[in-house]
C-alpha cells in the first residue's frame, strides 16, 4: 500500500529531508507532502550581513516550492495542530491531512512581545533585531543614521538560533564602524544571559579574547527583564542597567505556536522533545523532529538540521518498513564565526566533545578550527551557493559527513 510521509515546514530541514526521501522512495510506494504557511524561503545566515551591506533583501529569498524535487507535493497552509493519536495534521481552515510518518521541521519563532517594552516605542528605530528580514532592513537604516554613542548587542534569553550570530554581529559592527571612521566615537557592548561569551567553555575563552581585542565590553548573566526604548536602557531582573543609543536585540525564541495546541507534542517552550540520537518524538513513534523545532541539547543551526537530516531520513524509512529507528545523530554542530576584517573562525563540536583546535574536515588540507583565517571567511561566503544548490537538494557535501570527524583535531 502507498504510504504517506507528511513534512511540516519547508525551511532548511524540511526541504532537505523531503528531497532526500523523494530520491530514496519510488513515487508509487510513498507520497510525500510538505506543508508550509508561506512560499518564501529566506537564507537566514545572510541576515547577519544585511545590516552592513548593499546586498538586496531579494537576493536572500527564493520560493519554497521551487526548492522541492518533482514528485514532492507542496501545500501552502497554516498548521493548526497535530493529533498524534489520530495520525493527522489539522490545517488552519479545518481540513485534515493523515500521515503514516510525520516529520516536524517548523523551526523556531521570535517572541519579542515576551520581553516588556521590547516592541514598544523605539522598536525598529533605536531598538532593532537582525533575526528576521524586516528587522534586518530596519537595522540597516538605523545603522546608517548612527553617528556615534552606545551600541549594545543583547541576547534576551537562550536558546536562540545560531548562538554565535550575535557575537558575529558585534565583531562585524566593530569592523563596520572602523571603516566608517566612527569607531572612536562608539562604545560597543555585548550583553548575554550566559556566564560567558559562549556556552561551550573552550570556545567561550577564544571568543571572549576576541571581544577584548576589539574593545567590545562584555556584560554577562544579564537576564533582560525590560527594554526602555525612549529612555535608552536595558533593565535586568536583578535591577542592573545597560544604557544605549542603539540596541540590537535578539528576542526570546520558542517553537511554533501550533505545537502548544497539539496534545502531548511539545515542551513548555513549544519545542518538540525527541530522543537526542534517533530524533524520534517522545509523543509518538511515527513522529520525528529536526532542526530548530527539536528539543535537543545542541545548537539550533542550519548545519545541525543538515546533519540531523541524515538520521531522520534513515529512521523514517525504517519506521515505514515496520522496524525501530537505528540511525543515530551525534549532536554534530559546525559554525563559521565571522570575526570581521575578512576573517572567520570555525567551531566544530557534538554532544560529547568540546570545540577543539585543529582542521576540518581533513587533517592536513581542511579549514583551521578555532582560529581566525581568511580561508574560513571564504568558506562562509561560499556557503549561500552550497546552501541552495547542494544542501537543500539533499546532495552530499564533499568531505562533510553527518558524524563529527575526529581525525583533523588536536586532542584535549
Amino acid at each position: 500500500m502507498r504510504k504517506r510521509i507528511v513534512i511540516l515546514g519547508a525551511g532548511t530541514g524540511g526541504t532537505l529531508v523531503a528531497n532526500r526521501l523523494r530520491r530514496l522512495h519510488p513515487e508509487d510506494s510513498a507520497e510525500i507532502v510538505v506543508i508550509d504557511q508561506d512560499d518564501e524561503h529566506v537564507y537566514q545566515p545572510g541576515l547577519l550581513f544585511l545590516p552592513f551591506g548593499p546586498a538586496e533583501a531579494g537576493d536572500l529569498v527564493r520560493s519554497r516550492h521551487g526548492r522541492l524535487r518533482r514528485g514532492v507535493e507542496f501545500r501552502q497552509a497554516p498548521i493548526d495542530r497535530v493529533e498524534t493519536g489520530a495520525q493527522r495534521v489539522v490545517l488552519g481552515d479545518g481540513r485534515t491531512v493523515g500521515y503514516d510518518v510525520l516529520v516536524i521541521a517548523t523551526g523556531a519563532v521570535l517572541l519579542p512581545e515576551e520581553t516588556e517594552g521590547l516592541t514598544g516605542p523605539g522598536w525598529g528605530e533605536k531598538v532593532c533585531t537582525f533575526y528576521d528580514l524586516q528587522g534586518a532592513l530596519a537595522l540597516r537604516a538605523a545603522l546608517a543614521r548612527f553617528a556615534g554613542g552606545r551600541l549594545v548587542v543583547a541576547v534576551v534569553d537562550m536558546p536562540i538560533k545560531c548562538p554565535v550570530a550575535p557575537l558575529e554581529f558585534a565583531f562585524l559592527a566593530d569592523w563596520h564602524l572602523r571603516r566608517r571612521g566612527l569607531r572612536e566615537r562608539v562604545e560597543l557592548t555585548y550583553v548575554t544571559p550566559l556566564d560567558a561569551a559562549f556556552t561551550r567553555p573552550v570556545a567561550a575563552g577564544a571568543l571572549a579574547g576576541l571581544l577584548a581585542d576589539k574593545g567590545v565590553g562584555l556584560v554577562t548573566e544579564f537576564g533582560t527583564a525590560a527594554v526602555d526604548g525612549p529612555g535608552g536602557r536595558l533593565v535586568s531582573y536583578d535591577e542592573r542597567e545597560v544604557g544605549f543609543d542603539l540596541a540590537v536585540v535578539v528576542p526570546a525564541h520558542g517553537g511554533a505556536a501550533y505545537v502548544g495546541r497539539s496534545p502531548g507534542l511539545g515542551d513548555e517552550l513549544n519545542f518538540v522533545p525527541v530522543d537526542r540520537h534517533t530524533l524520534q518524538a517522545a509523543a509518538a513513534p511515527d513522529v520525528f523532529a529536526l532542526g530548530d523545532a527539536a528539543g535537543v541539547p545542541t545548537s539550533k543551526a542550519g548545519s545541525v538540521a543538515h546533519f540531523e537530516g541524515a538520521a531522520v531520513v534513515e529512521n523514517v524509512t525504517r519506521v515505514l518498513a515496520g522496524r525501530p529507528p537505528a540511525a543515530r545523530f551525534d549532536g554534530h554542530a559546525n559554525c563559521f564565526v565571522e570575526t570581521g576584517h575578512g576573517k572567520a573562525l570555525l567551531l566544530d563540536f557534538n554532544y560529547d566533545t568540546e570545540p577543539l583546535p585543529g582542521r576540518y574536515p581533513w587533517a592536513a588540507a581542511g579549514l583551521p578550527l578555532l582560529k581566525q583565517s581568511r580561508l574560513n571567511h571564504l568558506g562562509k561566503r561560499a556557503f549561500p551557493w552550497l546552501y541552495w544548490h547542494a544542501l537543500l537538494p539533499g546532495r552530499d557535501l564533499p568531505g562533510i559527513g553527518a558524524d563529527m570527524p575526529v581525525h583533523g583535531k588536536k586532542g584535549r
Partner: protein
C-alpha cells in the same frame, strides 16, 4: 571536580559547583547547600522551586532554564529572581543537586 560534605555525607561537585551524581543528593542537604549558594533565608517558596527543579530533572534528565522554569512552575520570572538573585535556574539546580541546566546552548 571536588569532594565536599553536606549533611555529613560526601558529594562530588564539578568545577562550577554542580552535583556530578544527583543520586548523592538528599533533601536534608538543602539548608547547607542554600547557605553555600549565598541564600541567607530559605522560604517555602524557595523550597517549592527547588523541589520542582528536582522533579523536572528526574522526569526529563535535564534541569530547566529560567524561562522554561517559570512557564512550567507558574512562578513569574521576576519572582524567581527575587528568590534567587544570582540566577534562578543555576542556583536552584545547585541546591537541588542536579547538573547545570543545559537549556543554555
Amino acid at each position: 571536580m571536588a569532594t565536599t560534605t553536606y549533611a555529613g555525607r560526601p558529594v562530588t561537585l564539578d568545577d562550577e559547583g554542580f552535583f556530578t551524581d544527583p543520586g548523592q543528593w538528599s533533601e536534608d542537604m538543602i539548608p547547607e547547600l542554600a547557605a553555600s549558594a549565598g541564600l541567607d533565608r530559605l522560604t517555602d517558596r524557595h523550597r517549592e522551586v527547588i523541589a520542582f527543579v528536582r522533579a523536572r530533572y528526574t522526569a526529563q534528565g535535564a534541569a530547566p532554564a529560567v524561562r522554561a522554569l517559570s512557564k512550567s512552575s507558574g512562578v513569574p520570572v521576576k519572582e524567581l529572581y527575587q528568590l534567587f538573585p544570582k540566577g534562578p535556574a543555576k542556583t536552584a539546580a545547585r541546591i537541588a543537586g542536579v547538573p547545570k541546566p543545559r537549556g543554555c546552548i
